[in-house]
């Protein structure tokens, strides 16, 4: 106990935020603007078809502006006073349960705000072009706005209930957007699957909230974290694990990863915004936000790192086997989030890198997804990379931006991925002990695989001979789509250095997650190994996919390839372990209810009816038998009276 208190005392987070002023006091506008956009677009019907997308984009941009203003205001404040509370309204109150709808503007949340509104706005702009032929573009923008609002609530809430509302709100937006083309059964199914799998995670989050309330009597971050050290170790670990379950659902970590690949059924901007840049990283946010809990529970932290590493490998392996460009990217997303979760589980030094990698990833992965969208745009919405090839000449801008993102993700020195990923690997080794070594090496291997599958994707799409279908005539996308690509590429290149150099981001986040003990080493003993593995990965891909021609149909692979292609049998496992037994259970229950429960009721009725049918036969119609019954009855009455005497 004492050590933990000491830890907290040493550099504990700011627990008593002040009331917000200035722009920050209208931080609710951040949420209100996109929410209003969504409401207007949804309620107005077809009337706003013409300019609905512009309104949606404007709302998102507006939020971005507010976010930027709030950010600069924060920079002007002293480091200890950067956590500001915005009181909105009392939400729930009954007995001791009091939940207020308040917003917390602090460095952590503002980082997310900027990422969400910034990348979000770019994707809004991109979508104007991407969705220009869709009759339901207005609805699409409404959902996007809804997503932005919910995501902002998620990161801005000052308590777990607010977070939970945003949490499910983004789930809803994700559901709506994955299933945007709901006439496609696969899209509808994918949407439903995403929601339901997320609900499994939400189960964890819900129970965690209950435990917190039962333990601390409050759900605000301030109260929970402030009293965390007084709770028993078991409780804290339980909360940590339950929160992790929630994070797994939202961030597609093992074992709740299966929905993310299917989620690629949604329009590509959605994949970029929700399923790459922002929503799926909410789990990382949750863990980092709850660091006060995790810091008290080594067991919970350990499990977080295990989940992270397992997922980063699993995602990478899946990414190697996919021919669908979006699914390959989705596998990569899983994998990269695995890195972030790993980092978040590593504790104090990891938080910064988790968030930094998250932001960097937001840029490069969004950029690549949008690039993929641009490619699909050119290829008549085909996603099969085996039918791509040689696109670098016809789509130069897309190629260039995608290439920069590619370099960033494989950790090419100097680009943003290099800064952040190296930091995570370093932190893993820094953890020390056997576990640190294992985590570190696995993360290293993951980096190598990343290089391999990303190169594979790059080569199959942009290099080599064209393997296009006959009726496909690729062309570069319009400006409204390429400009966001360019902006995102800039972020991919420079983001990492900007954040990591001079511990800039670490200092910025310090009021929330605490000051790291030492400043980050730019060059670590592992830098070289990482680089070497990267080269190996790229080389392998070069040999396989650039030197040799790529067949237009996927060759039958060995069991390992099949294993990867089938998403490591995740779906099969779900199906055989959950779905089928579930279906049987359902059928059994329905049968039981109809025959058993209802059967008892109907049986009782039938029994009474049957008794009636038998008893009425006693009424034979013969007057003598009536007389007999009277006679017997009289005897019984006499007997009864005498019996009482005895």
């Amino acid at each position: 106990m004492t050590t933990m208190n000491a830890v907290l005392a040493a550099g504990g987070p700011e627990l008593h935020p002040q009331a917000a002023e200035g722009v920050q006091s209208v931080a609710w506008l951040l949420i209100a603007l996109p929410l209003a956009g969504a409401a207007i677009l949804l309620l107005s019907g077809r009337r706003t078809d013409k300019w609905g997308h512009l309104l949606g984009t404007a709302m998102s941009l507006g939020a971005f502006v507010v976010g930027v203003l709030a950010f600069f205001q924060m920079l002007g404040q002293h480091a200890d006073g950067r956590s500001r509370l915005v009181h909105l309204f009392p939400f729930i109150s009954a007995g001791s349960l009091k939940v207020d709808m308040n917003l917390l503007v602090d460095p952590l949340s503002i980082s997310f705000v900027l990422l969400i509104t910034g990348v979000g706005s770019l994707i809004h702009i991109y979508s104007i072009g991407y969705m220009s032929h869709d009759p339901d573009r207005r609805r699409f923008f409404a959902y996007l706005n809804l997503f932005v609002a919910a995501m902002l609530l998620l990161v801005l809430a000052d308590n777990y209930v607010g977070l939970y509302i945003g949490w499910e709100g983004v789930g809803l937006a994700s559901y709506l957007l994955i299933g945007f083309w709901q006439h496609k059964p696969s899209a509808a199914t994918a949407a439903k699957k995403a929601f339901i799998v997320n609900r499994v995670g939400d189960f964890g989050l819900s129970v965690a909230i209950m435990v917190m309330f039962a333990t601390f009597g409050s759900l605000s971050y301030q109260d929970v974290f402030g009293q965390a050290s007084q709770a028993s170790q078991g409780t804290i670990t339980a909360i940590g694990l339950l929160l992790l379950l929630g994070a797994c659902g939202k961030s597609a970590q093992l074992p709740l990863q299966s929905w993310l690949l299917d989620a690629m059924e949604g329009p590509t901007p959605v994949s970029a915004l929700i399923h790459a840049a922002t929503m799926v990283t909410a789990g990382v946010y949750l863990i980092v936000r709850s660091h006060a809990i995790y810091e008290l529970s080594p067991d919970a932290r350990l499990l977080v790192t295990i989940v992270g590493v397992a997922t980063l490998l699993a995602g990478a392996i899946i990414g190697c086997a996919k021919d669908d460009i979006k699914k390959a990217l989705a596998g990569s997303t899983m994998s990269q989030i695995g890195y972030m979760v790993l980092a978040a589980g590593l504790g104090r030094p990891g938080y910064v890198f988790a968030i930094a990698h998250l932001i960097a990833h937001g840029f490069f992965k969004a950029g690549m997804f949008l690039g993929a969208g641009s490619v699909m745009h050119a290829m008549n919405d085909d996603v099969n990379m085996r039918k791509f090839g040689g696109l670098r000449k016809v789509m130069p801008i897309t190629f260039a931006t995608f290439g920069l993102g590619y370099l960033a993700i494989i950790g090419f020195p100097g680009l943003s991925g290099w800064w952040t990923k190296d930091g995570i690997i370093d932190a893993a080794f820094e953890k020390g002990g056997t576990s640190g070594q294992i985590l570190g090496w696995l993360a290293l291997i993951g980096a190598g695989i990343t290089a391999y599958y990303m190169s594979r994707l790059m080569f199959m799409t942009f290099f080599g001979e064209p393997r296009w279908d006959e009726d496909v005539h690729p062309h570069e996308s319009p400006k409204v789509m390429t400009v966001p690509l360019i902006l995102l590429a800039i972020g991919s290149v420079a983001g990492g250095a900007f954040l990591i150099l001079g511990d800039r981001f670490a200092k910025f986040l310090a009021p929330v997650v605490g000051e790291p003990e030492a400043s980050h080493r730019l060059i670590t003993p592992y830098t070289a190994i990482v680089f070497a593995l990267m080269v190996v990965g790229v080389g392998l891909a070069y040999v396989q996919y650039l030197r040799r021609p790529v067949p237009r149909t996927a060759p039958a692979g060995n069991p390992a390839v099949t294993f990867a292609r089938k998403d490591l049998y995740g779906d099969a496992l779900n199906e055989s372990l959950l779905m089928r037994p579930g279906q049987w259970l359902t059928r059994l229950t329905v049968f039981f209810d109809n025959r058993g429960v209802d059967g008892v009721v109907n049986g009782l009725a039938a029994f009474i009816g049957g008794t009636s049918g038998r008893v009425r036969r006693v009424q034979t119609g013969f007057v003598r038998s009536y007389a007999l019954s009277m006679f017997v009855g009289a005897a019984l009455v006499v007997g009864a009276l005498f019996l009482v005497r005895i």
């Binding site: 009816g609 049918g613 009424q619 007389a627 009289a634 009864a640 009276l641 005498f642 009482v644 005497r645």
Partner: protein, 520 residues
């Protein structure tokens, strides 16, 4: 021996309080006038005269009863102690008179000149004579004095303060009913069969009643209820004579109210008898019979209640269950209502068993409430007719609610009252007896009552389903409208509603009637 026989001079001149007995006397007198009318008046005028005499007689008797009730605290014995004139008795008598008046409306009903009673009872069904009598437009008018005699007997039965008077009243009440049962105009074979069955079993049961009386006489040396009670408290109740006597007496009484296992006659007789008469039996006879049960058990055997209670518990439970369960599978409306009447007898017994003021008053209220509802229900049955007379079979009632919403709706209302749905008199009554029973500690009885109410609800509901939720038959029955029947239905429905919504006054009446219990 000589000491036994008293000198002639010792026998006091009987003193009869004519004023207190007037209601009974008026009814019996009206019956006698009816006989004279039958003998003297020309055939064409008999119907009108008979109806007039009956109605006037009943109304006058009722008026007098009310006068007696509000005059002074009625708590007297009359006719040398043979008849008690007290609160409960007057309440019962008043109820009987009103119900009889309503039944009379049904009995006197003539649609297209058709009476529900046969023109000439002596003719063989289906014979040329019968057809002739029908063609001649003959009308049975003897029924009116017969009904009045029966009503007279019913009035005396619950008032009788000694067992002999009670026996005579029983016979006066029963004999005309036996005859009347056999006088249906349609389905005469059924009617006659009902009469035979009723008669034989009735006679059989009165033999039991009488033997029980004899044994009690042997025990107490008197047939006066008060003397029996005194003898019981003096000698203690160990005598086998006493117990056997009580048992046989109970058989006779329970038979009249149709309690299980003495219920067998009820369905057959109710079904076979002319419906107007069934209405009379189901209401007035039941009231009178329960009145008699009340008097015997509250006055004569009250001190013995720890002995007869278990037996009566068993009877009550059996009655409720048999009535409710067997009714479920009935297919004839009247027969179903007969079983329903059996079940209601069971509910009434739960009130009787309470043997306290609450029990008495609640039973009285229940009687009145049930009587009105049941007359109304049978009145509706008389209206629903096929080519061959009343549409007895339930399947014929299908879809009636769509073709005759008012009639079917009223019938449904009566059925809901039978089922004890709140805001009907049936609920108030049931609540009253259950409350009394519960206060008397008869929790299990209440539970059985509740369960059998639930079972019973099934067949009431079934009829409603049939009437309202089934498609109408193509050749479904029509509704024969006659003002007198309609009046009976209206009164029944009105009272059922009023006693359900504002039962206060009626309950108050029953309570003040029961305030002093029976006179000894």
């Amino acid at each position: 021996m000589s000491t036994v026989y008293m000198a002639a001079g010792d026998i006091p001149t009987p003193h009869i309080e004519y004023g207190r007995l007037a209601p009974v006397l008026i009814v019996l007198g009206a019956a006698c006038v009816g006989v004279l009318v039958e003998a003297l008046a020309p055939r064409a005028q008999r119907y009108g005269l008979q109806v007039l005499v009956s109605v006037v007689g009943l109304v006058a008797a009722f008026a007098w009863t009310i006068a007696l009730g509000i005059g002074d605290q009625p708590h007297h014995v009359a006719a040398m102690g043979a008849v008690g004139v007290d609160g409960p008795t007057l309440f019962i008598q008043g109820t009987i008179l009103v119900l009889a008046l309503m039944s009379m409306l049904l009995i006197a009903e003539r649609t297209n000149g058709d009476s529900p009673f046969t023109a000439q009872a002596s003719t063989v069904p289906g014979s040329p004579e019968e057809r002739e009598s029908l063609v001649a437009g003959l009308v049975q008018t003897e029924i009116y004095p017969l009904v009045l005699f029966a009503v007279g007997g019913m009035l005396i039965f619950p008032a009788a303060n000694d067992l002999l008077t009670m026996f005579v009243a029983l016979e006066v009440m029963s004999l005309p009913l036996y005859l009347l049962c056999g006088l249906a105009r349609r389905r005469r074979l059924l009617s006659q069969e009902a009469a035979v069955k009723y008669f034989l079993l009735g006679a059989f049961s009165s033999a039991f009643f009488l033997y029980g009386t004899a044994l009690l006489y042997g025990f107490a040396g008197s047939v006066r209820l008060s003397d029996i009670a005194a003898a019981i408290s003096k000698q203690g109740g160990t005598e086998p004579l006493l117990l056997a006597g009580v048992a046989l007496l109970s058989v006779g009484l329970l038979f009249k109210m149709g309690a299980a296992p003495f219920q067998a006659w009820k369905p057959d007789v109710y079904q076979g008898a002319p419906t107007a008469l069934t209405a009379l039996m189901a209401s007035c006879t039941l009231v009178a019979a329960v009145g008699g049960v009340l008097r015997v058990f509250y006055v004569g055997l009250e001190t013995l209640r720890w002995d007869w209670r278990p037996m009566m518990w068993a009877v009550a439970i059996l009655t409720m269950l048999v009535g409710a369960i067997v009714a479920i599978t009935q297919t004839d409306v009247k027969r179903m209502l007969a079983y329903s009447s059996i079940a209601h007898g069971g509910f009434l017994l739960t009130g009787v068993i309470a043997t306290n003021k609450a029990g008495l008053s609640s039973t009285l209220f229940y009687l009145a409430a049930y009587g009105f509802t049941t007359v109304g229900a049978f009145a509706v049955i008389t209206m629903v007719r096929d080519a061959g007379g009343e549409a007895g079979h339930l399947s014929r009632w299908a879809g009636l609610g769509k073709r005759q919403p008012l009639v079917a709706g009223t019938f449904a209302f009566f059925l809901l009252a039978f089922a004890g749905i709140p805001l009907t008199s049936g609920f108030t009554g049931k609540f009253a007896v259950f409350q009394a029973a519960m206060a008397g500690g008869a929790m299990p009885l209440v539970i059985v009552g509740v369960v059998s109410s639930a079972i019973a609800a099934f067949f009431y509901v079934r009829v409603i389903v049939l009437m309202f939720f089934s498609e109408p038959l193509a050749d479904g029955p029509s509704v024969a409208f006659s003002p007198t029947t309609a009046a009976a239905v209206a009164v029944g429905a009105f009272v059922t509603l009023v006693l359900g919504v504002i039962p206060g006054p009626a309950l108050h009446l029953a309570q003040s009637a029961a305030n002093q219990l029976f006179v000894r």
